[in-house]
């Protein structure tokens, strides 16, 4: 009898030693949210298990998409458009995730050196948004007039009542620089307990969870090569691959959303000082745990001159960056080099 117990025990140990024995990689693409494609993948024991995680992802994405939509109203929901239309008249109560995002932005904005990301410059950004739709550049005078109503200190947040109020009724919020990274943080908290080994990309805002269950120790996240910059190998359009777990990766670049007028490229990341697209970098990728922070910092570092951005990122121990400067030079902080393919890192 005892002999069979021993054999059984050994068999149990054998099964336990099979990493991810019954887990397969599943993936899906979702198109309905944040005007981009969301790619979600993870290791599950069955299609049903994965699908039930997708349902939760979609529920969260759908809610946050509506909440941070500046163009549509959804019933009685106090979303971004509702706030922009009403917070100049009286304080508007908003859901906790909305209030938290505004508080986080304000906290960051008030740090020395962090105020080149201003979510209160919606009136300026909407002129650039219209320009990309029509193909006609905004008038300088229109930009300057709009810039008169971008004072973040006129956005009053009342924590006790969870309300937002604009002391300047012409202020408009634009959450484009932070909403997707923040949304990725929310989805992570929902998915981690049920499907820990997953990766999500909200239009380039990536969060990689626990290690993949196929023998690898890390997820691999590629950084796309801007045109005219050498890639890792001839015939590739990958600039770098970064390998890690429990980490956010966010890239801001001039090569995704832009318009061209008379051969000049005007992309979508606007410097609040010049009111024009920032031009110091081709792209910057931020690696840090928080998706919100990564999203915020990628916009900030894209706007700042390279040396200023480098000094700033080096003052934040928990974040790293990969820069592609305007002349095509690629550089990265030590923490990013440590997980980069071109510096010898791999998924194993």
């Amino acid at each position: 009898m005892k002999r069979w117990i021993a054999v059984l025990l050994a068999l149990v140990m054998l099964l336990a030693s099979l990493p991810g024995f019954a887990e397969d990689k599943y993936s899906t693409l979702l198109f309905d949210y944040f005007d981009t494609a969301t790619s979600f993948m993870g290791y599950a024991s069955s299609q049903q298990e994965f699908d039930s995680a997708v349902v939760l992802v979609e529920k969260e994405l759908s809610y946050l998409h509506q909440l941070f939509d500046g163009y549509h109203l959804y019933g009685e929901m106090h979303n971004l458009r509702y706030v922009n239309e009403n917070a100049g008249k009286a304080p508007v109560q908003v859901d906790a995730p909305f209030f938290t995002l505004l508080s986080l932005c304000k906290e960051m904005y008030e740090k020395p050196g962090f105020n080149r990301v201003n979510i209160a410059m919606g009136s300026v950004l909407s002129l650039w948004h219209d320009a990309r739709e029509t193909g006609i550049l905004p008038e300088r005078s229109a930009l300057e007039n709009a810039a008169l109503h971008t004072d973040f200190s006129k956005v009053i947040l009342d924590r006790e009542n969870s309300t937002v109020y604009f002391e300047d009724p012409l202020v408009k919020l634009d959450l484009g620089a932070v909403a997707k990274g923040y949304a990725a943080d929310h989805i992570r908290r929902v998915i981690e307990p049920i499907l820990p080994s997953f990766l999500i990309s909200l239009g380039g805002n990536v969060y990689a969870g626990e290690k993949p269950l196929d023998g690898r120790k890390k997820w691999g996240v590629s950084v796309q090569c801007p045109d005219g910059i050498p890639s890792i190998q001839p015939g590739s359009d990958i600039l770098e691959v970064l390998y890690d777990t429990h980490m956010s990766f966010v890239t801001s670049g001039d090569y995704q959303r832009f318009m061209e007028v008379d051969g000049v490229r005007y992309h979508h990341i606007i410097d609040p000082v010049t009111l024009m697209p920032a031009s110091h970098l081709r792209g910057v990728t931020i690696v840090c745990e928080s998706g919100f922070m990564a999203d915020y910092l990628s916009t900030l570092l894209f706007i700042l001159p390279y040396e200023e951005g480098l000094a700033l990122i080096e003052s934040i121990p928990q974040a790293g960056a990969l820069f592609i400067t305007a002349d095509g030079t690629v550089s990265m902080t030590d923490s990013v080099a440590a997980i980069a393919y071109t510096h010898g890192a791999s998924a194993r």
């Binding site: 002999r3 693409l29 990766l199 990536v206 690898r216 998924a347």
Partner: protein
Amino acid sequence: MFKKKDFLLIGLVLLLALGIFLFQYTGAKDTRSLNRVRVTVNGAFFGEYPLDKPRDISILQDNGCENILRIENGSFYMLRANCHNQLCIGQGEVTNKNYPLRSLGTHILCLPNRVDAELLIENTGDSFMPDI
């Protein structure tokens, strides 16, 4: 009490376990193309096609969106699309060899028309291959 034979059996099982463990963790494995392309529209299955027979696949939707995916020489690429940005055309071809080096990996993606064409591969945990 345990007999010699029992220890032998337990030892064998443990050895097997160790072998599998080492295989899983150190085996230098590659991803392998399954030589098929799967097309989805708005996340829903549209069709799956072998890459060894050349053909054009018309992906026509009720809303008027249309993409033509061409399969030839064991590869596929977007031949035509009536989307506004034509980025899917610029994404080039996916072959059984080039997918680890593409930033879109195994995919050709037409975002405006919500069409995705994906090379099916066996995922074996390649040490280089990016997930995204």
